[in-house]
C-alpha cells in the first residue's frame, strides 16, 4: 500500500498549510475587524486600533494575492517555490 503512505504524507502537509492559510488568515481578518471596532468604541478615537486593523487586513490581502499568483502560475504550467522563503515562480518539474 505505497499509495497510503504517499497520501498520508500529502495529507498532513495539506492540513498544515490549510490551518496556516485557511484558518490563520480569516482569524487575522477577524482580529482586524475587532481592532476597527475597538478603534471607535465608546466615543473615544483610538488611531492605534485603526492602524492595527488595516495592517491586519493588508496581511490577509497579501495572502489572497499569493493565492491568485498560484492559480495563474498553474495555468501557465508553472509552480510556486518557497525555497527562498518568499515565493518565486519556477517551471513545473
Amino acid at each position: 500500500m505505497h499509495n497510503l503512505g504517499f497520501a498520508l504524507d500529502g495529507a498532513w502537509r495539506v492540513l498544515l498549510a490549510g490551518l496556516l492559510l485557511g484558518a490563520g488568515l480569516p482569524v487575522l481578518f477577524a482580529l482586524g475587524i475587532r481592532s476597527l471596532a475597538w478603534a471607535d468604541a465608546g466615543g473615544v478615537a483610538r488611531p492605534a486600533g485603526r492602524t492595527l486593523g488595516y495592517g491586519l487586513f493588508a496581511v490577509v490581502i497579501l495572502g489572497v494575492l499569493l493565492g491568485i499568483t498560484f492559480i495563474v502560475a498553474t495555468g501557465f504550467g508553472k509552480a510556486l517555490s518557497f525555497e527562498h522563503i518568499y515565493p518565486t515562480i519556477v517551471p513545473k518539474h
Partner: protein, 416 residues
Amino acid sequence: MTQASVVLALVVVTALAFDFTNGFHDTANAMATTIATKALKPKTAVALSGILNLVGAFLSVQVALTVTNAVVKIQNSNGTPKESLVSDGGSALLLIILAGLVGGIVWNLLTWLLGLPSSSSHALFGGLIGATIAGLGWAGVNWNGDGSKLDGVVGKVLLPAVLSPVIAGVVALVGTWIIHRITAGLAARHTDQGFKWGQIGSASLVSLAHGTNDAQKTMGVITLALIASGDWTDTKNIPFWVKVACALAIALGTYLGGWRIIRTLGKGLVDIAPAQGMAAQSSSAAVILASSHLGFALSTTHVATGSVLGSGLGRPGAQVRWRVAGRMITAWLITLPAAGLVGAAMWGVGHLVGGLAGALVVFAVLVAASLAVWFRSRRTPIGSHNVNDDWEPVAPPAAPADEPARVPVTAAHGGV
C-alpha cells in the same frame, strides 16, 4: 463527412456537455455559503462565479493531455493514445471516451436532481473506468499506480476522497471556533460588512481555481479524441477552439447555477452564519490551492462539503443535519461504481450495434436520459427565487427534512 468524423463530432459535443454539467454541479462549492448568508444575491453570485470560471479556463495555457492516465491505460505517458486503440482510425478509443463521458454526465444529472453535491471528476473517472473495463478488461485500469508516486484509482481517487473532507473540516472547524471567540459581542455593524467581503474574496478564489482545474480536464479529453482520429498531432498544445469552447461551456454551466445543490450545501447541511461562511470558504480555498501545490489534488466538492460541515461543528449551538450529510456521503461512495456501470453499459451498447450507428445509439440514450431528468426536475423546480427558503418548513404540513426536492414551491419559473 466520413463516418469517423461524425463519431468524433459526437464525442466533442458530449465532452462539452460534460463540461457544462461540471459547471453547474460545482457552482455550489464556491457560492453556496455566500448565497445562504446573503453576502451576495443569488443571481449576482452565480454571475461572478461564471465569469471567474471563464477567466480561469482561459488561464489554462499549459494543458496536460494525460488527464485519463490517473485511472485508465488508454494513453502513453506523452499524451498520445495507445497505438493498439487507434489502429482502426481511432474508433476503439473514441467509443471508450464517449461511453465514459456519458456515464459521467448521467451520474452528474441524477445527483443534481437529488440535490446532492458529488464530485464531477469522480463521475468522469468512474465513467472512463467502467467503459475501459468493458472495452479492455480489468488490466486496462490503472488501479494502484507503479509505486513511484501517488497514482491510480486508489491514490488519485479513493484515498483523497476519504481524506479531503476531514482535512477541510478540521481547518474550517478551527477557523470558525476562533473567529467566533474573537468577534463575540461585537455589534453587527462592525462584523457584517467585513464577513461579507471575506466571503466574496474566498469564494472568488475557489471559482477561479475551479475554472483553471476543471475546464482543463475536458480540454485534455477533447484533444485526446482529436489525436486519436488523426485530426491533431501536437501533444504540446491544444487547438484554440477547444479552449474557447470548454471555457464557455463551464462558465455557462456555472452561471446556470445548479440551484438544487446550492440549496443542499448552503441551507440543508447546517444553518450558516456569516462568520462561518467566511471560515468555510477560506478553508476550501486554502485546502484546494495547497493540495494542488503539493501534488495531492483533492476534489473541490469534497473539500467544500467538508468545510461547511466543519464550520457547523465549530460554531457553538449550530446544528448539523447528519441525515443530509449521510445521504451525501452515500452518494460519494457510489459515484465511482455508478458512473462506471453506466459507462460500461454504454460501451456494451455501442460495441454491440457497432460503428457510427453504435455511437449514435449511445448519444441518443444520453439525450433521452437528460430529457427524462429535466422533466422530472420541473415537478419541483428550485431556482434563485426559492434557493434560500427554510430547509424545514416552519408550518405544517412538514416536508421530509431529507428531501430537498419535495420542498413545496408554487412558482413555476426558475432555473436549475
